[in-house]
């Protein structure tokens, strides 16, 4: 096999002979591979990340007793919450339980009172969009700590009408049941929460005399529109006694927006990738055309066109491979950093991106060297004479 030996020796020579040129080629190929890997990874991650961003809209699925809303006195057993699957591939599902009742609310200090909807929720202050400075829900409100039992979050409109200040005490009464709570903060959401007084679920259950009963479960399901639909269908099957309802305003809106965003991302990323390929191909063609003299020389000393061509294409593939392996690794690191910049969370590297980026780089590199084929018809003598 002297033939093959010769082939490899020549390849080795190509790498060792001109370090500067090798560096330039690897730089071009590596940059292309890095950009490809970074964008592909970022694009996959961004789509997923956007769906988690939809969390900001709050709950998108509601579980209510069957046939509800005409008679809202119906309740669900609290144990139903254990049937709700919380770990999805697209992220964690957030669950909040609530019990609503109308109770008389009075301020302990001034004695003013009115009737308002009392929402017993667990965790307290599920939607944390209130922005009024100083009105953030108490830290650690996600855990139903026992100390939170006597804390309430008062809706902005309730607060305005009853004239309650922060740190005041409220007395809630429903029939013979009374609960008192300490006003921890105010919520201003522009939604029904503004008209509610939110207290701990246990306190509300005592107030309503409905131990271990809830009137609704609110769920934030992350994920692409199709995944959410599937989740709702599964949940309905798991909970035949309750009604699982997508909050269509958000599920539909989110689906529309998600499709737009993922569309725009795919298109721009595709555009940029095509351009990167063109760029690397241009650089490779440029480098390959410098090898005219080498091709001419090899032909002059008796190399068959096909063998010469194969040698150069093998070189291009090898360079593409090395550049791709180095560049794609760099690109994945880059995308992790970029993900952190955009979403505040490092993008999770997708391993599938790596071989794809390397393969694309090799492909582009070979395509860039392909114009050398034109030299197959070139006569060695005219190449040496420097004729175009």
């Amino acid at each position: 096999m002297p033939d093959r030996k010769m082939f490899w020796r020549m390849l080795r020579r190509i790498f060792t002979s001109n370090r500067g040129r090798l560096f330039v080629i690897l730089l071009a190929l590596g940059a292309g591979a890095a950009l490809t890997a970074a964008l592909l990874n970022l694009q996959i991650d961004a789509k997923r990340r956007i769906t988690t961003e939809f969390r900001a809209f709050g709950p998108n699925v509601l579980i209510v007793p069957k046939g509800t809303s005409s008679s809202s006195s119906e309740t669900l057993p609290e144990s139903i919450i254990h049937a709700v699957p919380v770990n999805l591939s697209s992220g964690r599902v957030s669950v909040s339980t609530a019990l609503y009742l109308v109770a008389s609310v009075s301020v302990a200090q001034s004695g003013k009172s009115l009737s308002a909807v009392v929402a017993g929720t667990n965790p307290l202050a599920f939607i944390t969009v209130s922005v009024r400075p100083g009105s953030a829900p108490p830290a650690g409100s996600n855990e139903p700590a026992p100390s939170l039992e006597h804390v309430c979050v008062v809706g902005a409109r309730v607060a305005q009408q009853i004239g309650v200040q922060q740190d005041a005490d409220l007395v809630l009464a429903n029939g013979n049941h009374r609960e008192s709570c300490h006003v921890a903060s105010f919520s201003e959401t522009g939604g029904p929460e503004d008209d509610h007084v939110a207290i701990g679920l246990r306190a509300a259950q005592r107030l309503a005399d409905l131990p271990d009963r809830i009137s609704a479960i609110e769920i934030i399901v992350p994920g692409a529109p199709g995944a959410i639909q599937g989740y709702i269908a599964d949940l309905q099957r798991l909970l035949p006694d309750a009604e699982v309802r997508p909050i269509r305003q958000f599920t539909e809106g989110e689906a529309k927006i998600y499709n737009r965003i993922s569309g725009i991302l795919s298109y721009t990323v595709a555009l940029v990738l095509v351009l990167t390929a063109l760029c690397v191909m241009a650089a490779m063609t440029n480098v390959a055309m410098e090898r005219r003299n080498d091709v001419g020389l090899m032909k002059a000393i008796g190399g068959a066109t096909r063998r010469v061509l194969r040698l150069f294409l093998a070189e291009a593939a090898l360079l593409g491979f090395i550049g791709g392996v180095l560049g794609a690794a760099l690109g994945l690191l880059l995308s992790i950093w970029l993900g952190k910049q955009v979403f505040g969370v490092a993008a999770r590297p997708r391993l599938i991106v790596y071989p794809v980026a390397v393969a694309l780089t090799m492909l582009v590199s070979i395509a860039g060297a392909y114009p050398l084929r034109r030299l197959a018809s070139a006569r060695p003598a005219s190449v040496f004479r420097g004729e175009p």
Partner: protein, 483 residues
């Protein structure tokens, strides 16, 4: 001489120039497309976010607290305040009028609805069992000193689906929630009789017993079939008994569609606002108004309380379409109203919009970088390939400066032609992408053209700068010898 050399270079190597120009045009085209889309995407997405519906809620300042659980209001009907409908046209006169995409007023009345009047009267307990939501489906509002503006529920609540058609705002028509329709077997085209109940506290009770006494045993199925004469008879009797108001005992609404919303409206009837006003006895008034407005994501400045701002800050604040500054200007034109931002919609929107924008600018920047690399590489290649020519020029006595400016002029000419062509091509690309994703082509922007031309010039000059510097150091003799 200089110009001749430049034009000669183009004429002598047309294919080579064509290739370099093509690379340049392609790079610039992609940059143009990415830039146009990125510039446009904020507005487009903001528009898209309107599919989440209204982001502002207007309620009367004097309103009482709604005691609403699961869509059922436990508060007496006549409690609370109302707002005049006639003011609504003013919404389109505020500074940010073009950002107001739509609005719809709401008035809810508890009613008793039946497809058959006999059944309604025979019920032992005349408690309202349904909520009738009065609103606008698609109504033209006259704007003071301007044209009419068509708006309604389809703009503010786009997730409401109607199987059939929406009611017409000026007719006695309605759509019924899907749960109501299936429970009562109501079909499109049916007539629904809606009875008003003046007060639910104490509820009007009507026993079938006195009716039986009135008509003897005559109330049977045969009467149900020819109930029209019976109902008029009943109406006479009942109005005498002053149980009901004679004129508005019942409203006959034709069902034009079945509504499904996935929310509490599935258990309600939705009818024109005028019908609800008539039933509630509140002419020209409404209770809630949903406004859908295009907004700019709120930053720290946007969240500040306008009351604490200095005059110049207030001006800057009210000249940015923050959701809160739009709320502020709506409050100015609607006296007695309380305008609240629906935080759930507005905040999420702002956050996602900011993220997506950053992401797209990043991708655009990557596109720019890649385009610069591509163009730079091809100009570098074109200079390197002309080493012998440069050597010859130098041998004939041209200085480095002359050679450099000659090549730079060629490159610039190429940049303008390639950049211009690339821009034209890029606009097509951007239109295609915009059309494909949003159904609307991005707006034409001269800014992009300027950026592209300048960029093309900078990139080609930078790309050829390094080989040019090397070329200026060339010794003519070895080059001419072909070394």
């Amino acid at each position: 001489m200089f110009l001749r050399l430049v034009s000669d270079s183009f004429a002598r190597r047309p294919r080579h120039k064509l290739l370099t120009g093509a690379a340049l045009a392609l790079g610039m085209a992609v940059t143009t497309a990415a830039l146009s889309v990125a510039l446009d995407v904020g507005d487009r997405l903001a528009q898209e976010f309107r599919s989440l519906g209204a982001n502002l809620l207007v309620t009367p300042q004097a309103d009482s607290l709604p005691l609403e659980i699961g869509g059922v209001d436990y508060r007496p009907v006549n409690a609370g305040g109302y707002l005049p409908e006639s003011d609504l046209g003013k919404l389109k006169t505020i500074f940010w009028r073009n950002n107001i995409v739509g609005f719809a007023p709401f008035l809810d009345v508890p009613v008793l609805a039946e497809t058959d009047s006999m059944q309604a009267l025979l019920r032992a307990d005349l408690k309202p069992d349904l909520k009738l939501i009065g609103t606008w489906a698609n109504r033209s509002v006259s704007v003071p000193g301007g044209r009419a503006f068509v708006t309604g529920i389809e703009k503010t609540n786009p997730w409401w689906h109607v199987d059939g058609t929406w009611f017409r705002d000026d007719l006695a028509e309605c759509i019924v929630g899907t749960n109501v329709a299936s429970r009562r077997k109501i079909k499109v085209g049916d007539d629904l009789l809606v009875f008003e109940i003046k007060s639910i506290n104490p509820p009007v009770t009507l026993n079938p017993a006195p009716l039986v006494a009135l008509f003897g045993d005559a109330i049977d199925s045969s009467h149900l079939r020819r109930h029209d004469s019976l109902i008029s008879h009943l109406r006479d009797n009942l109005s005498k008994r002053r149980e009901f108001d004679k004129e508005s005992l019942q409203h006959k609404l034709r069902v034009t569609g079945i509504l499904s919303t996935g929310g509490a409206e599935d258990d309600a009837i939705v009818a024109p606002l005028a019908v609800a006003q008539q039933i509630a006895g509140k002419p020209q008034e409404y209770r809630r108004l949903y406004v859908s407005a295009l907004t700019k994501p709120e930053d720290d400045f946007g969240r500040r309380d306008p009351g604490t701002m200095k005059p110049d800050e207030l001006e800057r604040w009210s000249c940015s379409p923050y959701v809160s500054s739009i709320a502020y200007s709506i409050k100015q034109v609607l006296p007695g109203a309380d305008v609240r931002v629906i935080r759930r919609v507005a905040e999420g929107e702002g956050q996602i919009l900011t993220r997506v924008r950053t992401l797209l600018w990043l991708v655009t920047f990557a596109a720019l970088l890649a385009a610069a690399l591509a163009v730079g590489a091809s100009s570098a290649a074109s200079v390197i390939q002309r080493r012998t020519e440069i050597g010859l020029m130098k041998a004939l006595g041209a200085g480095s400066g002359t050679v450099g400016s000659l090549l730079a002029a060629e490159q610039l000419l190429l940049a303008f032609i390639g950049g211009g062509l690339g821009y034209a091509l890029g606009i097509f690309l951007a239109r295609y992408v915009g059309q494909k994703i949003f159904g609307v082509a991005p707006a034409f922007s001269f800014l992009v053209l300027a950026v592209i031309i300048v960029l093309a010039a900078i990139v080609t000059l930078l790309g050829s700068a390094i080989p040019l510097r090397r070329a200026s150091r060339y010794e003519p003799a070895p080059i001419l010898r072909g070394e």
